[in-house]
Symmetry: none
Subunit: 134 residues, 2 copies
């Protein structure tokens, strides 16, 4: 095997700032996916690859990947690997509505906690999506 997914492996870093390791991994991966550094369907770095690269325990990486899966960002396939999730089919308009609501509130909370104007984040989202296609 040599389909090397090292693109995001090199960017992975850990800071000793009190933030749990699995949170740092989870958030950095999430960002990589949002950026398009990792594209839908693409293989993610192996749990063991990440564990070795960051010198952390396999279970810690699993914790991070588990959260990403619960959020629908990735799909974990036993014995095959983990992959960036494809856009799931959304048929129920009501379901979509609620999801949007929740996502919006989450984003607002995150922005405020980060000392940032939510509207600014919203504008940036539109900007990025417009440029990258969405």
């Amino acid at each position: 095997m040599h389909t090397d997914v090292q693109i995001p492996l090199d960017r992975l870093t850990l800071e000793a700032n009190g933030v749990p390791i699995y949170v740092q991994i989870r958030d950095q991966m999430l960002r990589a996916i949002g950026e398009g550094t990792l594209r839908p369907g693409e293989q993610m770095p192996t749990m063991r690859q990440v564990a070795v690269a960051l010198k952390v325990d396999l279970n810690t990486v699993r914790h991070a990947y588990g959260e990403l899966e619960r959020r629908g960002a990735i799909v974990i396939l036993r014995a095959k690997g983990t992959f960036v999730a494809e856009a799931p089919p959304r048929i129920d308009p009501n379901d979509t509505e609620m999801r949007v609501e929740e996502l919006a509130h989450r984003a607002i909370a995150a922005a405020r906690a980060g000392g940032v104007e939510p509207a600014q984040v919203a504008r940036r989202i539109v900007q990025i999506v417009k440029k990258t296609g969405g």
Copy 2:
């Protein structure tokens, strides 16, 4: 006794994202100080005020304040209160911008993972913020 320091107290929020509480408090305070919302010499919210406002243990707040002191951001005076240091650590000018970038990308990833158009979430954010004030 009423020199109200509630300015930053209202802005304090806690997210259930795996980041330790004391880290969230520490970083939000650090930012408030760095961007001048809390000015040098000004009194900080009392540890107990923060504890009550966030419904968190006093020791947890103390942990956060302890780190702020070690970083030279604040000065703790027993029985008197805690105050913003005269020369608090400067904040990276690009900090806000980088944070926006991070938040935007994460939001995009979260939206797509939920099968939702990021732009739709962005619109809803603006809508909510406009109504609620922010």
